[in-house]
Symmetry: C2
Subunit: 311 residues, 2 copies
Amino acid sequence: MDFTAQLNAHVARVERGLAKLVPAATTRPARLHSAMRYSLEAGGKRLRPVLVLAAADLFASAPLRSAGKKSALRSPHSAIPTAIAAAIAVECVHTYSLIHDDLPCMDNDDLRRGRPTAHKQFDEATALLAGDALLTHAFALLAENYAAQPALATALVRELADAAGSRRLIGGQMEDLLAEKKSDATPAELEFIHLNKTAAMIEAALVMGGLVGGASVRHLSTLRAAGRHLGLAFQINDDILDATADTATLGKTAGKDAKAGKTTFVKLHGLASARRRVGKESAAAIAAFKKLPGDSAFLIALTEQMQSRKR
Amino acid sequence: MDFTAQLNAHVARVERGLAKLVPAATTRPARLHSAMRYSLEAGGKRLRPVLVLAAADLFASAPLRSAGKKSALRSPHSAIPTAIAAAIAVECVHTYSLIHDDLPCMDNDDLRRGRPTAHKQFDEATALLAGDALLTHAFALLAENYAAQPALATALVRELADAAGSRRLIGGQMEDLLAEKKSDATPAELEFIHLNKTAAMIEAALVMGGLVGGASVRHLSTLRAAGRHLGLAFQINDDILDATADTATLGKTAGKDAKAGKTTFVKLHGLASARRRVGKESAAAIAAFKKLPGDSAFLIALTEQMQSRKR
């Protein structure tokens, strides 16, 4: 398998999906739809939607599906629906969370993915509404595109709403803000923030891919475990990059955490310990991927690449 | 039928539903959940969730259901699920929209339902996140509580996501903001704003109640038309109250529209014309309700009461 070719193919599919499954910038209200597309099209790694597509692919090969594995949701041999709408829904939620995160009342950041943040390019109100609209659109996408398989649609909505909800993504964001204010978060508090602010959506991406692919309950739980490890590795790596990389390479403001006196994994445990933990979590994610059916070489290579990323 | 007793019974059911179906203020993160509950529990008319419950009730009586009417979604004689989760989902979306509306970058309002707005009581970041969390929770509620009837769950998510989305609720909000800036919106622009910012969620409330009750496609479309008329009457009445009532009676800042130079129905067409239009839209809503099966006396009385409301 050529990892880079496969990654590029997944990313290209995501870009095509974004073009097709999000209202055009010219549709009324044009300013709102322009802001939604501005943030979606800023690029980024597309990690989460790629995870959805790759996880769905694991279960797509016919020999495995006829080997008697029971899907959590679908009867055997029924057509596998396309995972692209689920992938775009996840990217919409991720992008909304970045737009709201960047707002002046939150992180107050001017730069994201090397471009002005949404509220800098448009204005605060438009950015707020564009975030709201992306979050809402994610659920519309799932309900519309999987309507023919309503048990799947319902499971996808539930997974995404739980991962993005007050106990997970938004909960992690809330505790992150509180931790910033006191700037002496404990290791347990930081773990809560990382698990929820970052790992929740990475878990959900893998689980949603598995749901579309027809994974068994056991395989869904393996995907969730893999996502948790991958998410922790990813976030601790983010902390490392913020402390060691420069703004031009990152495409977002570097050194922001230290400047804000923010508690990060690096601040609490040191750079060497942070790097060890990234290695440990990445290895655990890879071990989980190896337990899954199908060819998990791509997900394993992706985990390794994430571990050594520069931005 | 005693209208007031029935209204109180519906409202009491909504209050019990809120207590049960939204995370307790003490669950982690407590500040986030407290802010969500603070805004939800500020009271208000509970118009939208009451509409969900009342619309579902129309289709709940056994004789009608066995008279050969075909539900859009369910087989005849299957158990009617409770509408309370759909009602609370609608109230969560409505409350989120108020919290975000009140933020400094939007309407910048300090008072809502007679109490400090969420960002005044907590802070801007917490209010932003509480709004995000209420919107997300609405979809979680639908997916969880109607999971046993996934076609219903999917239809409810789709209805709510469309009504709350970039072309409707948020789209109306966006155009409202743009209209405020130029303060010379045309009648057509104002109609777009009213239809989407206000009527969309009132339509969705009635349609979602109908979906839970098992309404036919034709009856769903009658409910949608009724909601459109009721929503327009409601919003034009809001414009009238803003121009004529005082802050203490309203429970929110009065005279705000005129002060902001905002285009309202009253400003564009005058008070007498606005009152006539409220009468006309209310009558159209009542005519639609009369086409529905079951006892629509409550919905008719509610429409009349809304027409003469003081806040």
